[in-house]
């Protein structure tokens, strides 16, 4: 069985926020809710890197563990989804999540929390696939149409990868080998990658193709 994963390649992400925009548009996400965000480390300094982050669909999901009403479930694809009909908007998943994925629309007085909203890996919710009800509550269900999440599909530099974990890790592994593992101090990214062809190591990554 496939196990769906996101991976963001920090050497490729250029902080264009295209994934954020794609997600908001595809899923009709309400104001104040951001299922995905791009975080930049050392912004404007040497060594600046960006990472796009959303729900990471954990194997041992903290949100599901602490939920007082047990509204989370893991799909056959390894996605952590939740049922908004069961969710009570307590915010415990938000405390427990390491990535800041659960979001809460403001609902009622004193900015009290409405029902939680988070990245669904463009896989909707427990309702019937691509039904109007599912669309209204969870946004798009691209997986049911055989497509991958739009954030990754739209990524201009292919920094954000989404799909079967083994495929994703293969792609990333090839990149690392081609790029030169930075542990060898060949630097990172594109700057020094071009030097590697002369050292006869390139074949390792491209042998399979």
């Amino acid at each position: 069985m496939a196990r769906m994963k996101f991976y963001c390649d920090a050497e490729r992400c250029i902080e264009c926020n295209g994934c954020v925009t794609a997600c908001k548009n595809e899923n009709d996400v309400p104001w104040g809710v951001n299922r995905r965000r791009v975080v930049t480390i050392k912004d404007g300094e040497a060594g600046e890197r960006s990472l796009s982050v959303a729900c990471m669909h954990c194997s041992d999901a903290p949100c599901a563990a602490v939920c007082p009403v047990n509204c989370f479930y893991t799909t056959d694809d390894g996605l952590v989804l939740h049922d908004k009909d069961i969710c009570i908007g307590c915010g415990y998943c938000f405390y427990a999540c390491p990535f800041g994925a659960p979001q809460f629309p403001e609902d009622g007085a004193f900015a009290s929390r409405g029902k939680m909203d988070k990245c669904t890996f463009c896989a909707g919710g427990p309702e019937e696939d691509n039904s109007a009800e599912e669309r209204r509550k969870y946004g798009s269900n691209r997986l049911a149409e055989g497509k991958l999440p739009l954030c990754a599909e739209m990524c201009a530099t292919k920094a954000l990868l989404a799909g079967d974990a083994s495929v994703i890790s293969d792609i990333y592994r090839k990149r690392v080998v081609n790029r030169g593992a930075s542990v060898l101090d060949w630097g990172v990214s594109y700057e020094n990658a071009s030097l590697r062809s002369s050292k006869g190591v390139q074949g390792k990554a491209t042998m399979e193709e």
Binding site: R37, V39, F94
Partner: protein
Amino acid sequence: MLINHRRVLQFPALLFLILIAFPVFAENAPSSYKPVTVPNPATDLWRAVNPQQLPPAEAAMFPGGDSQVQGVQSGVLINQLGQRWRHFRMGQLLPTGSYLLAGAMLAILLFYLIRGKVLIRDGESDKKIERYSIYERLIHWFMAIVFLFLGFSGLILLFGRSLLLPWMGPELFSALASAAKEGHNLFGPLFLLALVLVFLKFVIRNIYQKGDLTWLLKGGGIIGKQDVPSNFFNMGEKTLFWLLIIVGGLIAISGVVLLFPVFGQGRDIMELSHVVHGIAAVVMLSVIIGHIYIGTIGMQGATEGMTSGYCDLNWAKDHHSWWAQRCIDEGKVMPKQQGAAVHHDNPAPAEAEK
């Protein structure tokens, strides 16, 4: 200026001490391999992604990132305290809290079986003393109702998934838990109000004084049969009052932090508030279980003061003898019923009333 210079110098000196201390520790550790001397350029990135795993001194060098998404802590990539909080709630608060609450109820059951109901030594008298005014009773019951509601709704959120969900089913339990959450949020601030009112009204009578230690050492006269004098409130009641003010105050303040996520508080503060809220609430519930027992079925004549406002003279002599004596001296003792004498002489109309 001189002070400023000294402060400026102190920090580098401290840093220097820390820096020379670290290699010393490293040398003591047994190592059979040579570490990679060439730094990995990516390590700084991953340190910045998860700075909480670093020692505090190093973590300060890796502040969080920036994000175009506006929001509290939106630049934090990994919040490791979330895992700590998860462990607290699932691995510590749930089991310990259930043991504590079950233990408190078991202890009271054992106390009831061993000691039995605390009776008035000379039986009920036909005289009474005013114990609580209507205002005092009002704020007591106001707090009691709010506390019990918040206690039960909080317990539903804490233990409901393991105790209620399996037999209620997800839909029904979700409706109950949703009501519990909304009610808890809505009536939570009332507890803070009740706490302030109770504090202002009762604080003077609850200041510890001479004789309280004796009361404690003699076990409050409940364990033995000896007479332990006390004032309006005895040592046990005073301790309950201060527990209520301090532990209840912690519950109320941490609750406000959790209830209004609009002051810019981050997840770390909310997680800490929840830890305080959870521990304090479970402790307070255990204490209040004891209070409810001794105020109702555990002691003869104890409930009357809080319901009718008057207590039996003999009850007052038993449990608050100094106060009872003062009331007798000041002539505040009154007969229980105007028609008490008539009542005894003519039992027939009394039965007709029933």
